[in-house]
């Protein structure tokens, strides 16, 4: 029997998250048996869906598993890992993986590396490729030799595999007690947006390079002249300069406009996942090495305000 990759299924409100299927693809790439653990409240139909991608799916159903709680997930996963002895435990580098993987790895004494882009297994060694310094440098890392390793995989790097046949689905009964120290009490949905940037054909988006809130009205005017809307990357929302509903990226919106004009946006992957499929991407950044130029179709290495003013002058002259 092939050694095993044990993936944790991620789901929210009854929907499986894409990263889970990507982990099935990783198992195939590494030629490991693809096994998946699903913990949930009404889990059976999700388990069956997973079985068309994984060789084997284990699921646990319990009232307490309605929401993700690392204090409940950790003992269940620790027990399953000890029983199944997988070669690799894999999760997404997501709000779930980040909460759970490090403390689970510490409990199991299983070497962990997070936010990886690529993995190779070589006997009891694991090689992982990661990005550091906002993607300006890559680091090839090796994990300490161990019969079991753990990773969190950056979502969206691996392609979703095609479904293949029907894997085995097994319901597992496990004892579960409420945590006396950690409770998940609910969700807060994002507020209804004043402007829906996902519907816009033209998006003018600003990042850290805008430098000063006082520069924003001038860029907003450009967006208006182009018949588009103003959006931004995370630092602009963090500073409170634009509302959260204007944020493009992993923790914001995913957009696919006809034109995405990225002004002073460095191009961290958290942003890029939200805009990389736009029809035409033009980036303006002072830093010629900014990763945004690996995504954009056209780039200008200059001060963004100069380009904004020049474009506005041309648009004014036209009308």
């Amino acid at each position: 029997m092939n050694p095993e990759l044990l993936a944790l299924a991620e789901h929210r409100e009854g929907e499986l998250r894409e990263v889970t299927f990507e982990l099935a693809g990783l198992a195939r790439k590494l030629e490991l048996k693809a096994t998946c653990v699903l913990l949930g409240f009404k889990a059976q139909s999700m388990a069956e869906k997973l079985a068309s991608y994984f060789d084997e799916v284990f699921y646990v159903e319990h009232d307490l598993l309605k929401h993700f709680n690392s204090d409940l997930y950790q003992p269940l996963l620790a027990k399953l890992t000890k029983e199944r002895r997988p070669k690799l435990v894999a999760m997404g580098h997501t709000s779930i993986g980040m909460e759970l993987a490090p403390s689970l790895a510490a409990e199991l004494g299983c070497p962990l590396i997070t936010d990886v882009l690529d993995v190779q297994l070589n006997g009891e060694k694991l090689l992982a490729r990661r990005q550091i310094y906002g993607g300006k440098v890559e680091a090839l890392m090796e994990l300490k030799e161990s019969p079991c390793h753990m990773i969190t995989m950056r979502p969206g790097v691996l392609r979703q595999p095609e479904p293949k046949g029907q894997g085995k689905v097994t319901k597992v009964d496990m004892e579960l007690k409420e945590s006396l120290r950690k409770k998940v009490v609910g969700y807060v949905e994002p507020p209804v947006a004043e402007v829906d940037i996902t519907k816009a054909d033209v998006i003018v988006s600003i990042g850290r390079g805008i430098r000063d809130a006082g520069n924003i009205p001038a860029v907003e005017e450009l967006a208006r002249m182009l018949g588009g809307v103003l959006a931004c990357s995370r630092p602009v929302v963090d500073k409170g300069w634009l509302p959260k509903d204007r944020q493009v990226g992993n923790s914001g919106k995913t957009v696919k406009p006809k034109l995405y004009l990225a002004l002073g946006i460095s191009g961290a992957f958290q942003h890029v996942v939200g805009m990389k499929n736009s029809d035409l991407i033009i980036a303006v950044n002072k830093d010629p090495n900014a990763p945004i130029f690996n995504v954009a179709h056209y780039g200008i290495v200059d001060d963004l305000m100069k380009v904004v003013e020049a474009l506005k002058n041309l648009l004014k002259a036209r009308s």
Binding site: A101, L140, L180, R181, P190, V295, A310
Partner: protein, 262 residues
């Protein structure tokens, strides 16, 4: 409420250039400013606000060489009561080794809440917090965007993908990793800097913490560097040269051609 904030000094990469030497093991950083990790700065601010609202002591802790004392001075200047630096070289240490060092420091401190950034802007592991919580035997929440103190519990909001938040309650003592944007970090005042020079900054050696070479450094780490590489991705963007006016008119014509503007 007694608080601990764990901070890291990092090279800010936004304006920096990087070069890898011929061995692949050394990274040359050019033109970088060094400062407190951005995520940790938000954690520090949140800790300061809790201290100001509820009283108690705030201790700032870092692991690293003498250069990293400047971030502790910043913490003291902004209002931390004391600071501790563990004097170990961090080059070959991964997040697991750092968490073990912090554990030795924190188990000797009284705290209700430990705060730190959700990740560091340089290596971005996002591991230290949850590992440290496990070693300390306290509950944790990561990516925190809001903190409310109840009686024996705290209620926090965690940031999820797509803009939703999860509401989690933790019994104290607990550990939180903080997401950027939770607050607006204050600037350091001149008064603060003056006061900071009189506040205690303690330096601990690995020996004082009974740490051996097996706990720290390369031996104590899960992950080891094989080599650095500067990504040689083919630049997809066609770079439009020239002064802003020329570049703008290229774009203007391009948009007309593509029918994006009328």
């Amino acid at each position: 409420m007694d608080l601990v904030v764990c901070v890291k000094r990092v090279a800010e990469h936004a304006e920096a250039e990087f070069e890898v030497d011929e061995t692949g093991k050394k990274l040359k950083v050019k033109g970088a400013a060094y400062d407190i990790n951005e995520w940790d700065d938000y954690a520090l601010e949140e800790a300061l606000r809790l201290k100001e609202a509820l009283g108690g002591r705030l201790t700032a802790v870092t692991v690293g060489d003498e250069d990293s004392e400047e971030v502790l001075r910043k913490c003291l200047a902004k209002g931390a009561d004391e600071a501790i630096r563990v004097d170990v070289p961090t080059e070959e240490m991964d997040a697991y080794a750092v968490a073990k060092v912090l554990h030795r420091v924190l188990k000797k401190l009284n705290f209700d809440l430990v705060l730190m950034g959700a990740q560091a802007s340089d290596d971005g592991y996002a591991q230290v917090g949850p590992i440290l919580a496990f070693l300390l035997g306290v509950p944790h929440a990561t990516l925190v965007k809001k903190v409310e103190v109840l009686e024996e519990w705290i209620r926090v909001h965690r940031e999820l993908e797509g803009g939703a938040e999860e509401v989690v309650e933790l019994r104290v003592p607990a550990l939180l990793t903080i997401q950027t944007g939770i607050n607006e970090p204050r600037y350091v005042s001149i008064m603060g800097l003056r006061r900071a020079s009189k506040k205690p900054l303690k330096v601990l050696s690995p020996g004082e913490l009974e740490l051996t070479s097996e706990d720290v450094g390369r031996e104590g780490s899960w992950a080891r560097l094989v080599r650095y590489e500067i990504p040689r991705v083919e630049k997809r963007a066609l770079i439009i040269e020239g002064p802003a006016e020329k570049a703008a008119s290229f774009i203007f014509n391009l948009l007309k051609e593509r029918g994006v503007t009328a």
